[in-house]
């Protein structure tokens, strides 16, 4: 019972921009109430939102699993999308495969992965073409 950990699971629905961000905003609300430093909350909220949006845009949705402990926050966003052919290229600021339609909505600027890296202390991408992608975001508290 008292194991000092909160585990959250969210399904990320596909192709619905208006509800995209529900997982990150739910997580943010909990972190705020727990009393985490606003700077920490911001790092989690922004990096998780980017990963969540990516799952919606590129992979027909997926799911988010979050572990909150006093030491660190670990966010895992998994999808069954097309996978990333070239991670190095995808990490470059401004590089994007998003369609014009998506760009017109203000998304797909090619800043998703770079922003995730910027706002996390550790980030891991596991991807397999045609199988899916798993992004792990780690934010240390201290």
């Amino acid at each position: 019972m008292s194991d000092n950990i909160i585990r959250l699971h969210y399904d990320i629905d596909a192709d619905d921009f208006s509800s995209a961000g529900l997982a990150s905003s739910g997580t943010k609300r909990m972190l705020n109430q727990l009393g985490f430093n606003p700077a920490i909350v911001k790092k989690v909220a922004i990096s998780m939102y980017e990963a969540e949006i990516n799952a919606v845009i590129h992979a027909d949705g997926g799911c988010a699993d979050v572990e909150i402990t006093p030491e660190k926050i670990v966010v895992v966003i998994s999808d069954k999308g097309p996978g990333i052919p070239d991670i190095e290229q995808a990490m470059q600021a401004g590089w994007s495969t998003a369609t014009n339609e998506i760009r017109e909505q203000g998304f797909g600027a090619g800043m998703g992965l770079p922003n995730m890296k910027r706002y996390t202390d550790d980030m891991k991408i596991e991807t397999e073409l045609g199988v899916g992608t798993k992004v792990t975001l780690i934010i240390n508290v201290n």
Partner: protein
């Protein structure tokens, strides 16, 4: 006035314990306990949503009685610009201000005039390199309190420039004392207010060590007196000082228009304001210099202490603005005031489950477990605004799972079935 934290109060004998106010409160500051609404003091931001929604008029706002002006030798009125939009027969501003003076005030200073001076100061402030953008206006005390309570990371974004009410009070006191030789303590300064939160702002200022306002009188409470004086003395007139730039502050968007920049967001209505603050916090709003955020729908014209409903008030306001108004701001005269806040704005912790992070995490894990078992109807019948809030109350030891009537019904059904089965066995 230590310990005073909000103006909204409950008239317990009128309260029927319904769920209207708990559901509409933007900060989850109300619970129904023992059949009556109860305000959680440190969460209330005086937005007035509960006053608007209560079908039994059980929610009121503390303001000062008009008669308290007579506690002072000299009495000064500071009318909010929203006052000009309260009379369906269109009176000029000069007539309204003259009537206000006839009520018993020695001097009247338009808050709209102070708003123009604040605009001039804000224009300079926005040029500074050392400020955090977007700058959020400090004019609406409800918004400042919402930030302090729920968006503490945005406290540095709040403009350090005074509110027009405070600026007006300081200028009026200085001017009147200089003109008449009255001692400052003999002067009573009264804000004529559309807003419940301004009462709290005068008693317990945020961003200032001390308020210059001695009392806050509801527009509603002097309306009838004023109307009578207006019709009795139509020829009375008063020299107006504010141009359209100051007067328009009463309307949502008015403060931004006065700044003469396109790079702003003007948002009104407390729930809309919360959404915008959320987006600023998540870096989703970039390249905007200024946020004008007003808690009431339609801006101060929609204030809970106004007489006219907000849409009628807007129609009247348009005519008032067309009537007698200077199209350009008057230059600075010798109006003296300190335009800057002189105190830090501090975070108010009203939601944390425990000071200790380990304990807080365990409590929240338990809370999440309880939420999963509650029906998720968010019906409010338990007295908390939603299932999550009930779970929080249970964790705090202030409620129990049996407060949920849906759960109670399930228990009842189970019990009935069990008794039925036992009776069947007896036969």
């Amino acid at each position: 006035m230590k310990g005073y934290s909000h103006s909204i109060r409950l008239e317990a004998d009128k309260c029927r314990g319904c769920t209207n106010c708990i559901k509409t409160c933007p900060t989850e500051a109300i619970r129904v306990r023992g059949g009556k609404a109860k305000i959680i003091d440190n969460r209330c931001i005086d937005c007035g949503e509960c006053i608007r929604v209560c079908p039994h008029q059980a929610k009121k706002a503390n303001t000062d009685e008009f008669e308290t002006i007579f506690n002072y030798k000299y009495k000064i009125a500071l009318p909010a610009p929203s006052l000009y939009a309260q009379f369906s027969k269109i009176y000029t501003r000069g007539q309204i201000l003259a009537a206000l003076k006839l009520l018993g005030f020695d001097y009247v200073y338009e808050v709209a005039r102070a708003a123009e001076l604040i605009t001039a100061e804000t224009k300079e402030y926005l040029k500074r390199k050392d400020i955090i953008r977007p700058v959020i206006s400090s004019a609406c005390p409800v918004v400042v309190r919402l930030i302090r309570l729920k968006y503490p990371s945005l406290i540095p974004n709040i403009s350090q420039i005074e509110s027009p009410m405070e600026a007006a009070a300081e200028i009026a006191r200085n001017e009147f004392a200089a003109k008449t030789g009255a001692r400052p303590e003999e002067i009573g300064i009264f804000f004529i207010s559309p807003c419940a939160a301004k009462h709290t702002a005068a008693k317990m200022p945020i961003g200032n060590l001390k308020s210059n306002v001695d009392g806050v009188i509801a527009i509603k409470s002097i309306y009838v007196k004023l109307l009578k004086l207006l019709s009795d003395s139509e020829e009375a007139d008063f020299k107006v000082m504010a141009s359209k730039y100051g007067v328009r502050w009463a309307n949502s968007g008015g403060e931004s228009l006065a700044l003469e920049t396109d790079n702003f967001i003007a948002v009104d209505g407390i729930h809309n304001v919360a959404k915008i603050l959320e987006e600023i916090e998540d870096d989703k709003i970039n390249d905007v210099d200024f946020i004008e955020a007003l808690a009431c729908n339609g801006g101060c014209l929609g204030g809970p202490l106004c007489m006219e409903n907000v849409y009628s008030a807007k129609a009247i306001f348009k005519k008032v603005l067309e009537k007698d108004i200077s199209q350009s701001a008057l230059p600075y005269t010798d109006e003296r005031f300190n335009p800057m806040h002189d105190a830090e704005i501090e975070y108010v912790d009203a939601y944390s489950l425990d000071k200790d992070m380990y304990a807080a995490i365990n409590k929240m894990a338990e809370m999440n477990r309880i939420v999963a078992e509650l029906p998720g109807l968010d019906c409010g019948a338990c007295g908390a605004p939603n299932c999550r809030a009930l779970a929080e109350d249970i964790i705090r030891g202030e409620a129990s799972e049996s407060d949920c009537i849906i759960k109670l019904k399930e228990e009842y059904k189970k019990l009935k079935k069990k008794i039925g089965a036992e009776k069947g066995n007896e036969k």
